[in-house]
Symmetry: C2
Subunit: 204 residues, 2 copies
Amino acid sequence: MTPKPATERIRKSPEQVRAAVHQAVIDLLCDPEGEDLNIPAIAQRAGVNHTSVYRRWGSLDALLADMVTTRLERDSPLNDTGSLRGDLLAWAEASVASIRTPEGRALVRAVILSMPNSAQAQDERAQHFLRRMHSIEQIRQRATARGENPPPVEQILDQLIAPFYLRALFGIAPPTTGYPELLVDRLLGSESGGSAVDGSTTNY
Amino acid sequence: MTPKPATERIRKSPEQVRAAVHQAVIDLLCDPEGEDLNIPAIAQRAGVNHTSVYRRWGSLDALLADMVTTRLERDSPLNDTGSLRGDLLAWAEASVASIRTPEGRALVRAVILSMPNSAQAQDERAQHFLRRMHSIEQIRQRATARGENPPPVEQILDQLIAPFYLRALFGIAPPTTGYPELLVDRLLGSESGGSAVDGSTTNY
């Protein structure tokens, strides 16, 4: 975990550089002393020259976005369980398992840190979000192909994804048992049991 | 918005320094060019000496936490509307109005940036979270005093607060009409309409 002295640095392949730099970001985000996340600190931790980090990624935002996208794609559970409920539950269980680890919480924090500030960057944010939604979209498409009626993406966002993000960010542990089931059943229950909810919402 | 040259700096009262520094954080978070948020940049933007920022707050985390707490307390809607639903709706409407502004989204981002990384800092995170929950707790207490049966705090967190945070962070605009009502009715509907939901969740 200690940075390698320059004399120990050996030539790395581009993919080794990428993996080392990504891991350095996660390590720094998990480090209790690591207050400032910047490219020189990341390069030092990864044992690479900071000029090659600038040349490859251009900015910290771009590096974080690349790291987050790579990790999320690697971690996305995409097995077909045979039902919408089963697929959503598998997604939720993987998410709960992830945010129970410091690395998983660091990844969520990196997602937020990689969001550009500017109004002009709205498109980049939307792109990032769509990548994150990729596995959810696959789950929805499989459900539709089975003849199931999946909830709209925005409802899945509000009722399933948002609670995981918020808990990861604030470090609020989810209930130890039944939490994935609770969220998925709320999501699907409020969908299938729509008439009861509609009856109480005539004030719209 | 341009930083004042040192020659223009005049002596500020402690409260003026605090307000100027807080505003500088918001301005930098809203600035499309403002990639690095650090104490020297904040001090320059606020027109104060960076040593007084270090002396007063000690660290960027502490400064962000102080700024966020101050703003959230100022912005919390605490009017008693006479019902749980009305109070939650007022809270949700204020939150939606806030995240429609760049400053509101910057504030949410600052909340996340001010979260300490370390496992040892769990208490600080919990404290921060409890402050954020203060207005929600007041709403719950008023409801209980009226004889209403408010949902548990964690359910309000998952179903009402989390969607606002996630949308603010990703810049996903909420639906233009009826969104506060939709979330509040989902929250209270799944509470009062519990039997329908329970019927579909026997697999727990």
